[in-house]
Every structure is written in structure tokens, then in C-alpha cells.
Symmetry: C2
Subunit: 349 residues, 2 copies
Amino acid sequence: MNIGEIAKRAGVSRSTVSYALSGKRPVSDETREKIQRVIDDLGYRPNASARALANGRTSTIGLVFPPAGNHYTGMQLDFIGSVVEAAAAHDYDVLLSPSGVDSDRSFQRLLGERRVDGAILMEIRLRDDRVDHLAELDFPSVTIGRTARPEGTWWVGLDHTALAAACVHHLADLGHRRVAFVNRPEQLLRAGYESAHRGLDGFTKAAAERGLTVQTYCCGDDPASGQACLERILHDDPATTALVTLNEAALGGLYRGLAHAGRHVPRDFSVTGVVASRWAETVTPQLTAADVPAEEMGRRAVDLLIERLDHPGAAPRHHLLAPPISLRASTGPAGGASFADAPTPFSPS
Amino acid sequence: MNIGEIAKRAGVSRSTVSYALSGKRPVSDETREKIQRVIDDLGYRPNASARALANGRTSTIGLVFPPAGNHYTGMQLDFIGSVVEAAAAHDYDVLLSPSGVDSDRSFQRLLGERRVDGAILMEIRLRDDRVDHLAELDFPSVTIGRTARPEGTWWVGLDHTALAAACVHHLADLGHRRVAFVNRPEQLLRAGYESAHRGLDGFTKAAAERGLTVQTYCCGDDPASGQACLERILHDDPATTALVTLNEAALGGLYRGLAHAGRHVPRDFSVTGVVASRWAETVTPQLTAADVPAEEMGRRAVDLLIERLDHPGAAPRHHLLAPPISLRASTGPAGGASFADAPTPFSPS
DNA sequence: CGGCTCTGTCGAACCGGTTCGCCGGAACCT
DNA sequence: AGGTTCCGGCGAACCGGTTCGACAGAGCCG
């Protein structure tokens, strides 16, 4: 059941059927209705590959993210979901591609074989060969996150520097003087992930500005690492009274470590960071944090990409987001532990 | 840079280039090497649409899941990740399609426009029009989950009945007599989601068998609903000492509700259920639960689909998984609260 | 009434691959 | 030497759409 079959049954030529469907040339009402009736009867739908071959557009966008390694974080999930939905609203499909690098097989499939019209890249590094490669090819793409020099490229990003700094100021305002920073895994930091670097920068500078004593840590993306990391924090400086984290997957482990150490949140210890609201609301007490607007970022990335596809040569655009800190229940004034009349903490086994 | 260009530069015909690449007919070593050199020089990759049009295969599989509504659960994320990776291992791409129903635009795009060679469906209902539709078309597909009558179809499923029953037996063995069941949202139960129905069945039957007093609840897929649900449980029967949940997104809220009610887990109250291990390990105390092997299920679904694609007409196959309960720290003997010598619990504010 | 434009439709070429039938020449056979 | 086989490569048709140029006929003009 192809376009020729439709044409035959409607008693017209193939081109007339094509024009009736696309509307790119006028077709008489009578003919159009006749064609439409045949199409409805047979449930005909034009073949996507043939159409893509003929007009050079696949109506598909690629979503490129690093290979899972162990697992994905909740944020990545939210990006995927919102990108798929936003794309569907524009009549685009989404092709998923797990890809770390430029020379990756997946990446080559997407670009070289022209499976997609454009791409959205996640988990950007400060120096990212994929981004360079795409820019060189002038291939329509939008990044979620930005490189060290994002000028001239299209991106949607989070102002990690400002967000981490806001966390520091929030804690400093509450009187905390010794604060730890829990970053993404060391291998990601070394690889140059922008969130890890800019977040660390923002934290360090703001802490220096406020005269805080700090320690910074890398931490694996899982609860067990979070717990181990917290133990190290208290071991290295038992007087630490607060921490800032970018690592949402470790969050549950950080909380568990605090419970085991007998530190009550927020009375004895304050926790804050940059975390998707879904996770911030899952832990008890709920996390005071800068909520990552993953849904909005995914949507905006798609909108930018569609715009770029529709207007080749348009000037690069971007969105830098800096959501405010949502006050929940995980931070409090420093020195809470010295309230003599607080109930005796439950001692861990 | 298409195949004709390669042919011209190598001084051979287009068909020879094609055969050199596919190996479907012998080509002399000399010619093949000459062609390969030109290809490497130009970085040529065959156009996916043209290839799909010519040989009728897109090398893409569709992953169909319900529209996000509010958000996805962690389990869905794990499925997506493992499906993408397993597909990549077989040189297939994955096209994401948010689709609730049969007549859905997305669904029609996938099938009608032949964008994919096969499909994997998630979030199956006991009666599912999408599954019926695909079976009718004899379209290669595998479901993650199974309908009420899965005979003759290809699927990978979890034995929710047995898992929920195992949770009940675990609690009954510990001496619990009054147990609550926290299901997925009511709208999903009404829509006929298989996990919600079979889980409820398994729970109800096993509880009857063990003579337990039970209450069952539906609960929204978010922490706030979990907390509200727990309040209702204790309001309806304050003597409840344990619960079984299928709702991982609500888990954090359930824990919070227990903390607010002053019930210590596991001393005063036991919690178990069917939950991805990632979530079970995030909460404190870690959840004793039947771990959903999402990664394995996604991989097996892909393997089945590939097999079905490679051997049309093969007899339907399936995998029914029933992972054991992982003992962690959220369950304990009933009546633990009466141990007089237990440390004084920390009383919540 | 001849020449003009305008409208609706058709045929053919094209997108970039795959595949089938065929053929020329070398090698092998008797 | 002539016939058969085998190997390697070529040309053409095809997959199912889109698009361009052409054209027939109707309606309008002078």
C-alpha cells in the first residue's frame, strides 16, 4: 500500500496524491476528497524512509547522552522525558544515542548516516570534542550545558557557579563556618564535566568570600558512596556543620551517614545543594536546594533546536537558568547541636 | 558524498561499492581495498534513509511508553537505559515514543510510517488495545509486562503475584498480623495496569491464606501522596505494624509519614515491597524488598525482539522473572516496640 | 476569433542505496 | 582448439516518496 496504489484507486497520478497531502500545489476539492476517501479506507500512511530520502529531512532529533556506566541519574531521566514530549509537540521523534565521544559508533551513526535532522547533547564537558565536531560540521545541535567557550553555539544551561554560590551564602547566613562540598564522581571531574567544575568554582569562590573553612570531595553516583563520603567528611573535620552537594544520587547515602553519626538534620547539620525537586522531596527532612528545572531545560532545548532547524543561519541563542533556592527543611542555624535542652539523639549501633 | 561519488573516485560501478561494503557477493581484494581507501579518505557513511528504503529495514526499534503525565518513575528510567544499551550492542537504534493508546499519533507514526522494525512496549495493561493491535498486524513486538491472556505473544514480565505474596509471607513470618498495601495510583489501577492488579491479587490471596487483617490503598506516584497515604493507614487502623508497597515513587513519603508518626522503622513498623534496588538503597533504613531487575528485563526484551526480527515465524517466547527478596534493614519482628530495653527513640518534633 | 493567463493534473527525473540478470575473460577440461 | 565453468564487475530496475516542467482546457482580454 504505497502512494502508487492510492493514486491508482483514486484514478489520479502519484504526484497529485503527493500534492493533495502536502498542499504544496493546489488540488481541486473534488480530487482531494476522492483521494482522502481512498486513504482513509486503506489506512495509508506515507513511508518515513522514502519521504526522508526524497526531501532530506527525517523529522527525528537525536538525544545524545553518555553511556550509562552503572545507571542514569534522575535528572537525566527528566531531561529525556521532557525532550521526548516537547519533540512530539513539534511532530518530531527522538532517537536515543548513548555516546561518550566523537569517534563513537553511535555518534557516527547519528550524524554520518543522517538518521537525525539535529541533535541535543547532554552532560557537556568544558572541552568537549563532540561539540567541537558538530560546530565544525555546522550540524544543527543544542547542548544542555555549555563548554568553557560557548560563544557562537546554541545551548541551554544552568548557572552552576551562581547556584553553588547561593548555597554557600545561604549556609553562611545561617552562621555555618565549616562547610563540605560533595561533587560528582572524580572521573567525571577529571573528564571536565561542566557542572562539576563550575559548581566547584562557585562554591570555592563564595566560600573564600565569606571566609569559610571548606573541604571538597568527589563522590560516586550512588547511596553507598554518599555514606562513605560523609564518613570521610566527619573524619577529616568533625566540626563540619553543613554540606553542599551536586550529587543527587548520593543524597540518600549522605543522609544515612549523618543518621549513623548521630547528627540530626537540620539541628546538628545542614544539607543543601543543587538537586532535582523530585529527589529533594523524597528525602526526610526535605532538602533545601536549588531545584534543577529539568523539564523546562529539556523543553527549551527542543524549542531552540526546532528554531535552528527551521531557520538555518539564524544567530545562536541560549538560555542560562538560575532557579532560586527552595527553602525546605534541611538547613538551620549553625550551633543547633549545643541547645542543651534538645532531646538526646538516638545513638547508632 | 554518496555511493556514486565513491564509485566514481574508485573507478568502479555503484553496485560494486555496495557489494564491497555488504559482502553479499565476492569482490576482489584489490578492488575492495581501493574502495575502502576512498571511503576512509572521504569519511563516507551510507545514508540510513536510502538504505532503509531499499532493503525495508530501518535498524531501529521503537520503545513505547505512556506519556509522562507528571513524571517517570525510576524503574522506567532503568528500562530505557538498558534497552538503549542492549539495542546498541545489536547495532540498533532506539526511537522513543510516548504513547498511551492505539490511535495515538505517535503510535501511528511508528507503525504506519514504518519508522521502526519492531517495538518494545512498557506499562502493559491486562487488556491492552496496543498489544491487540500489534498482534493483529503481526508486527514484531515484545512487551515488558503481560496482558491477562499473554499466550501466543512475546513478553518479559515480573511475577508480581508471587512477589507481593512473598512480601506478605515475609511479614507474616515475622509475626505481623495487620498489614497495609500501598498500590500505584487509582487511575492506573482502573486503567488495568498489570503490576497494580497482579500485585494486589498476590497480596490479597497470601494475606487471606495467612489470616492477616489487611487494608489496601492506592497512592499517587510522588512523596507527598506517600506521606498522606501513610497518615490514612494509621488513621484507619493505628494497630497496623507493616506495609507492602509497589509504589517506589511514594516510598520516601511513606518513610516520612512514619517518622512524623513517631514509628521507628523497623522496630515499630516494617516496610517492604517491590522496588528497584536503586531506590531501596536510597532510603534509610534500606528497604527490604524484591528488587525489580529492570536492567535484566530491558536486555532480555531486546534480545527477544532481535530474535523475533531475525527469525520471523519463530514460536513465541517469554521470560517470567521472580527475583528473591533482598533482606536489608526495613523489616523486623512484630511487637518490637515492646522491647523495654531498646534505646530511647528520638522523638520527632 | 486568436492569443493570453490561470488552474489543475500529469509524466519524468531524482533522492541514495540494494539486488538481479548478464557478460567478458581467464582457467580448466577433454 | 573448442566448450564449459567460475570469477569479478557492470548496468538497470527498484524501493516510495517529492518536485519540476509541461500541458490541456477554461475563462478572459482586445
